[in-house]
């Protein structure tokens, strides 16, 4: 927050926040920025619901022999944690909030291509959320978020169909958002905003949207078949009805593995913006970064079988899926190398967004490397369905995606709200989140190699020490997640005005007032340079010839 920025020298129009004030003007808004805020509100609520379930799980595991959760309740809690965090927080997290807010601003457009579809997606999302809350209040579901058959279709005693309906409806919100982004990025770029000048965040949202459009329908079909088998006894997955349980796993993971990339690609986009801005350097290997994003999106569709190495798939299929899983790790590694190389000869500032970005790189690298371990066939035989896998994907999903989400929130907060927040508290939360995260999930790698299976509400006594450490870390993490609520809340009411460009950043979104006016730009910008014309050797950190008309 050290770089001051002059206000624009003419009278500002009212911002998108103050243009209209009635409740109806929010509920019926077709402004992408307001819809982004509506999504922020919804997913924040779900983040804390999912976090509450995780809290109960970790509390219970401190001392399971004193069991304050009954087995059925424990099973419902981890199922709810998974469903809420995957579909109601992580998948919409960055695309529906920052994607919604920033894609039009970053490409110099006045809105998304289909503003009404955008608003409709928020209502569809909340409708699915209501179904989810209904089933939570009715008593939940106990299949795990993976709905494995025939447990889910024949044996589970929870509200499986309600859960399937919630996730089914949720998918339509995802598809609407993705469709909007693809069309917007193709059709609404400002003059001079070529594909080679798109910010990497926009590239990441583009790659994510394509994965969403292609994968989500398969999930819808799978859930429909679950409902048909459970309600009508149509034998698709249950062998007692002539079905094949492995067919379910193939269909489920054909969606759910690409879904991992739906969660992490936008995070990679955010990190590219943060690292360049706070290192005052153009991204190292822009073209390579765009190819890596697209390669992950494409290869990510051909690795689903690595969830099934011990499930009774053929050995040959196992070998092919292992090979593809190693291949998809290569573009991820390239991205880590490129971020690191971007730091070289930079002028690095450690403002809170950058702390999250550096934390992301570290945790994502850990998650990626342990991903190699579980992609290795012989090791996966031992490690699959143990806490090693839990630790691995939380390093990617929480250490990666959630860190990037918070990094983005701190970076664009001044743009979204027009106000600054207390930097010292923000840095403290970032560091606490990093430490708490590692304390929570690193012991789980050890538990996994020791052989503790996932989804166990009780465990052998010798594993208690690692579980207690993990729960201790989770309590730190919980505090760290609550802190931003407090200082962001303060900032909303009392925070100093941010000005147009508090970070002296280069993107188009920083060329318009904070908060932006309803139609984003006073004049349609004309783009003449690439997205990251930073120059670490220059005072102020921006290349002199890098002017962008506003």
């Amino acid at each position: 927050m050290t770089i001051a920025s002059a206000e624009l020298p003419f009278d500002l129009p009212a911002s998108y926040l103050t243009e209209r004030q009635s409740l109806l003007s929010w509920l019926l808004t077709i402004d992408h920025k307001r819809i982004a805020l509506l999504y922020f509100a919804s997913i924040t609520a779900f983040f804390f619901i999912g976090g509450f379930a995780a809290t109960l799980i970790r509390l219970h595991l401190v001392s399971p022999q004193h069991g304050f959760l009954q087995p059925d309740m424990y099973n419902r809690m981890f199922t709810m944690h998974g469903i809420v965090m995957v579909w109601f927080f992580l998948i919409p997290s960055i695309p529906a909030t920052f994607g919604n807010f920033l894609v039009p601003l970053m490409i110099g457009a006045h809105d998304l291509a289909f503003p009404r579809i955008n608003l409709a997606s928020w209502y569809v999302f909340n409708l699915s959320g209501l179904v989810l809350l209904y089933l939570l209040l009715m008593g939940g579901v106990d299949t795990g978020w993976t709905f494995y058959t025939p447990l889910s279709t024949t044996y589970a005693n929870g509200y499986v169909v309600a859960a399937a309906v919630a996730v089914f409806i949720n998918g339509f919100a995802t598809i609407m958002t993705a469709l909007n982004f693809v069309v917007t990025i193709h059709r609404l770029r400002a003059p001079g905003m070529t594909w080679g000048r798109l910010p990497l965040f926009v590239w990441a949202i583009y790659a994510t949207s394509i994965v969403m459009l292609l994968a989500t329908p398969v999930l819808a079909m799978t859930l429909l078949l679950i409902g048909m088998e459970r309600l009508m006894g149509v034998g698709v997955f249950d062998p007692a009805l002539g079905g094949d349980p492995l067919l379910f796993q193939h269909m489920f993971w054909f969606y759910s593995h690409p879904a991992v990339y739906i969660m992490i690609l936008p995070a990679m986009g955010v990190i590219s913006e943060l690292v360049t801005c706070f290192a005052r350097k153009p991204i190292f290997g822009y073209t390579g970064m765009t190819y890596a994003l697209m390669a992950i999106a494409v290869i990510g569709f051909f690795v689903w079988g690595h969830h099934m190495f011990t499930a009774g798939m053929s050995v040959f299929a196992g070998i092919v899926f292992s090979l593809m899983s190693f291949l998809v790790a290569v573009p991820s590694a390239i991205k880590v190398f490129n971020w690191t190389a971007t730091l070289h000869k930079g002028s690095i500032g450690f403002d809170s967004p950058m702390l999250y970005a550096l934390g992301f790189i570290g945790l994502f690298t850990m998650g990626g490397l342990t991903g190699l371990v579980v992609a290795t066939l012989a090791l996966d035989v031992h490690l699959t369905d143990t806490y090693f896998v839990i630790a691995h994907f939380h390093y990617i999903m929480v250490g990666g995606a959630v860190s990037a989400y918070f990094g983005g929130l701190h970076y664009w907060w001044p743009k979204i709200t027009g106000r600054l927040y207390p930097e010292i508290w923000a840095r403290a939360a970032a560091i606490l989140m990093f430490l708490g995260f590692n304390l929570t999930f690193f012991p789980q790698f050890i538990l996994g190699y020791l052989g503790m299976p996932r989804r166990y509400y009780a465990y052998a006594p010798e594993w208690q020490v690692w579980n207690v450490l993990s729960s201790a870390g989770a309590s730190i993490l919980a505090v760290a997640y609550l802190m931003p609520l407090v200082y962001f809340g303060w900032s909303l009411l009392r925070g100093p005005r941010a000005g147009t460009n508090p970070w002296a950043a280069t993107g188009l979104e920083w060329q318009t007032p904070s908060p932006p006016p309803e139609h984003n730009f006073l004049h349609t910008p004309v783009v003449t340079v690439g997205p990251y014309h930073y120059d670490a050797a220059t005072r102020g950190g921006i290349a002199q010839n890098g002017a962008v008309c506003g």
Binding site: Y155, P245, V330, L343, L372
Partner: protein, 313 residues
Amino acid sequence: MAWVPFWPATSAVSGGVVNSLFVAELGVCAAILALVFGLIWVFCIKYRRTAPAGRAVPSQRSWAIEIGWTAATLAAFLGLFVWGASIYVWLYKPPPADLEVYVVGKQWMWKIEHPGGQREIDALHVPIGKTVRLVLASQDVIHSFFIPAFRVKHDVVPGTLETMWFRPTQTGVFPIECAEFCGTQHAHMLGEVVVMEPAAYARWLTQQGPEQSLAQQGEALFRKHGCSGCHGANSTVHAPSLAGLYGRLVHLSDGSSVRADERYIRDSILLPKKEIVAGYPPIMPSFAGQIGEDELMKLIAYIQSLGPKEPAP
């Protein structure tokens, strides 16, 4: 590695092999981590905004660097892939078994049946140094038979038979866990492998005192369910003889052929229309719903016991 507190003991041939791979892979990961984290720390300190470091970037030749590290990463990853895959193939291509044990998983217990007819629940007694092959069946949902100390695991899938094998190298008691979530008491679907010296194992077998071996029990079922009426030696029905069937290559009416393993025999009983033997009419009725997983295991053991020369009863 007993001195490392979190290093679990390995007690089977597979354990050592998997451990070496794990250690090697941790080494590779640690090297990459050290490289990336080291560079990030160095850059963050050297190029912090207040430091007076030289920041003029020479003309970029980044493509050469990028191709270089992409190739290096790819090579390292492919190496790990090949190592892991070769062990996996070894784990999944079992050596000739000294002992074959049937395992039936159901919510929330493991039922074990030995070839001699001995039965146990949530315990599996085996002799040291012998190759044990497990034939896995599930009566309800998917379970997963996991012996952490041996580093082996295999899902137990209803509607089919899966197999796994291990060769214990150490006597003692080792936990069995269900690794695939299977409902309310999943965390209590536990058991133990008891690895014994051969003499103690032989004593244990006789102490169990089974009245009949698994194959003998299967033979009784073979008559009871009327299988012998068609597949018996004196039958006039045009049905294939089962003598010497097990392990043989069977030619099917659609021109393909299939190895007559446990899965094939199971499917032939429950889904007789699925794979029809060449030259025979598809007249066999399905026994789905009439024969449970336990009885199927016995029938399979019986058919397995029919030697090549021996005429079917």
